[in-house]
Symmetry: C2
Subunit: 247 residues, 2 copies
């Protein structure tokens, strides 16, 4: 094999195209978010007030480990390195976490509900542009609404008896969504493949026969990403209204 | 049904004998220890220095949830209440945890290795006296040595390069085993069924044809429990020598 052949032909185990490389970037993000979900849910389980909640939350934590590992298995199938693509996001949520320390159990529940809602929505948008097998896996992983259902149930029940709590949580939710959208912006800036996938869907959605501009560089300033942030905000508003909270 | 019949005949869903009631008490302890293991492993995963260790420890945490739930399913089969029998042990390890706060990663690994070693050994002794199905489940759950193997591997590797660390950890191990044996004593005092099961094995072990004195009350002062503590100490010494540490 000549040097030039090696330059133009990717290794058989390596991502076959830039879309595949971007897909590994997205899979890494989703795996990281599941890993973070595991950490959060495990901490929630530790501090939950009742044995029943501790059991339930620890089961959700274990399920997040399983989902993360299924996503990492797909990374390996696409020729990526599981630990590397997970580690690339290690510091992504540091600012968010330190700036949104919950002071009560309800604030903690709402934080997870809002943060996972926004990040899952973004990943779902980007997942529209990846290969079918990766997309199916991602949508399945992102569809798990067990924690959301638990949060909605508990927050609704608590809010029904306490108007002060409701208005406090509405305020908290507005702060959370600002921080969460900031995380998405940072993720796109640091991992341009994520922005390419998300924007590609926007373009593909309009005239279906026009090839999507896969390699178009993108940034948080683009009109395309502006549309995505509008969509993320609208979905957040819908989620807050499920709780009877004004976004 | 008359009042006296109700007094002498247990509810069909209730444990059929005092051994079954003691078995539920033991299953509750093992389920609690797995729940504690989940919490510890999840915390270990959060603070582990490398992505690889984080992945491995989070998988062990998820496996502890699965084992706990299998034990709780057996509690329900025996007519017990899963949350109640788990909740009965909620404060068991509070003192141990507050008195053995690890100050390094190695101290943390050794704490888990020693605490789980002692408690698993005690549960194995008590498990010898329960019905076959519960015993098989318990021995399977208690046999999982994944964390022990991980701890041995890491502690051996670290100790091989650092004699000061080895002598510090040997000291730490001696403190840990004292506290761990204290926990077993407290558990037997608060849950006499555990002591009955453990002592029953001692009696059954000698002449096999003599019925074991199931209902003999026991306490931590008994010669029988003294024998058990001797056995727990011997097993601890063997485990420490696996690490090249003097017990």
């Amino acid at each position: 094999m000549t040097g030039s052949a090696q330059d133009t032909q990717p290794h058989p185990d390596a991502p076959a195209s830039s879309v595949a490389a971007d897909t590994v970037e997205l899979l890494g993000l989703v795996a990281h978010l599941q890993h973070v979900a595991f950490n959060r849910l495990a901490e929630d389980a530790r501090v939950a007030p009742t044995t029943g909640q501790q059991l339930e939350l620890s089961r959700l934590a274990a399920a997040a480990v399983d989902r993360r590992d299924r996503v990492l298995a797909r990374v390996v199938e696409l020729g990526g390195d599981a630990e590397e693509c997970l580690g690339a996001y290690a510091r992504l949520l540091e600012d968010f976490d330190s700036r949104t320390q919950p002071s009560t159990w309800w604030e903690r529940l709402l934080r997870t509900y809002v943060a996972e809602g926004v990040s899952d929505d973004f990943c779902r948008i980007a997942a529209a542009s990846v290969d079918e097998r990766s997309r199916e896996l991602l949508l399945e992983v992102l569809d798990d609404a067990a924690h959301a259902d638990l949060a909605v149930g508990e927050l609704e029940a608590a809010g029904a008896q306490d108007e002060v709590l409701v208005s406090r949580l509405a305020l908290w939710g507005r702060r959370l969504v600002g921080e969460a959208l900031g995380v998405v912006q940072q993720a796109i800036a640091a991992h341009p493949g994520l922005g390419r996938l998300a924007v590609r869907r926007e373009h593909a959605a309009a005239p279906a026969d026009v090839p999507a501009p896969v390699d178009t560089p993108t940034s948080a300033e683009d009109g395309d990403t502006g549309k995505i942030f509008g969509e993320l905000t609208a979905e957040h508003t819908r989620r807050m209204s499920r709780l009877g909270l004004t976004a």
